[in-house]
């Protein structure tokens, strides 16, 4: 087993872990904004870890350069999409989750 494969395996495992937490947040959190918070940050980090792991596994070639380009694009695009959907929800008057009395502690 090469050391390149060990590093790639570690990065892929970290990416899978963050995908798992993001999906758990998407399923279990109570309202729209908190679900957005879980997937917006968790998916971005997970995609970065997975793509870096795949690029390390490929070695230095034109393919790994393309994979790094996808990683840079996702690092810019995913927070933009999250912000756009959250702003659409805010302009559509989606109320955030508060406690029962509505005192918003």
């Amino acid at each position: 087993m090469l050391i390149r494969e060990i590093i790639a395996g570690l990065f892929m495992s970290a990416g899978f872990f963050f995908f798992l937490t993001a999906t758990l947040g998407l399923l279990r959190l109570p309202d729209f904004y908190s679900r957005m918070h879980a997937t917006g940050k968790g998916d971005t980090l997970a995609v970065l870890f997975s793509l870096i792991g795949l690029a390390v596994y490929e070695g230095f070639s034109i393919t790994s350069v393309k994979i790094v380009l996808i990683a840079v694009f996702m690092f810019l695009a995913q927070p933009t999409a999250t912000h756009a959907i959250s702003r659409a929800a805010f302009r559509c008057n989606v109320k955030p989750f508060t406690n029962v009395e509505g005192t918003n502690k």
Partner: protein, 88 residues
């Protein structure tokens, strides 16, 4: 190492199924949009893992790049449309 990528890919497919729960039963269309975005992000990684397993990454990486672009554009267009209509 091939078995490792296979296990990661199958686990990612299970996560896509869990995300499809939110897409199907989400209370409003915004929740469905978030679920679709998460499914698209996972599909990008699954495509690359399929390429690694078949030793054809140089073909699948272009498909994955186009998928990332289309996911972003679709998400942005949906957000703009919902913002303009003003109701969910």
């Amino acid at each position: 190492m091939n078995t490792f990528f296979l296990v990661i890919g199958i686990g990612m497919c299970l996560l896509v199924l869990f995300c499809l729960f939110r897409v199907t039963y989400g209370p409003t269309i915004l929740n469905r949009a978030v679920g679709i975005s998460a499914v698209g992000t996972k599909t990008l990684i699954i495509l690359l893992i399929i390429g690694v397993i078949h030793h054809r990454v140089e073909m699948f990486v272009d498909i994955s790049m186009v998928y990332a672009l289309l996911n972003f554009i679709g998400c942005l267009v949906l957000a703009k449309y919902l913002e303009r209509t003003g109701e969910v």
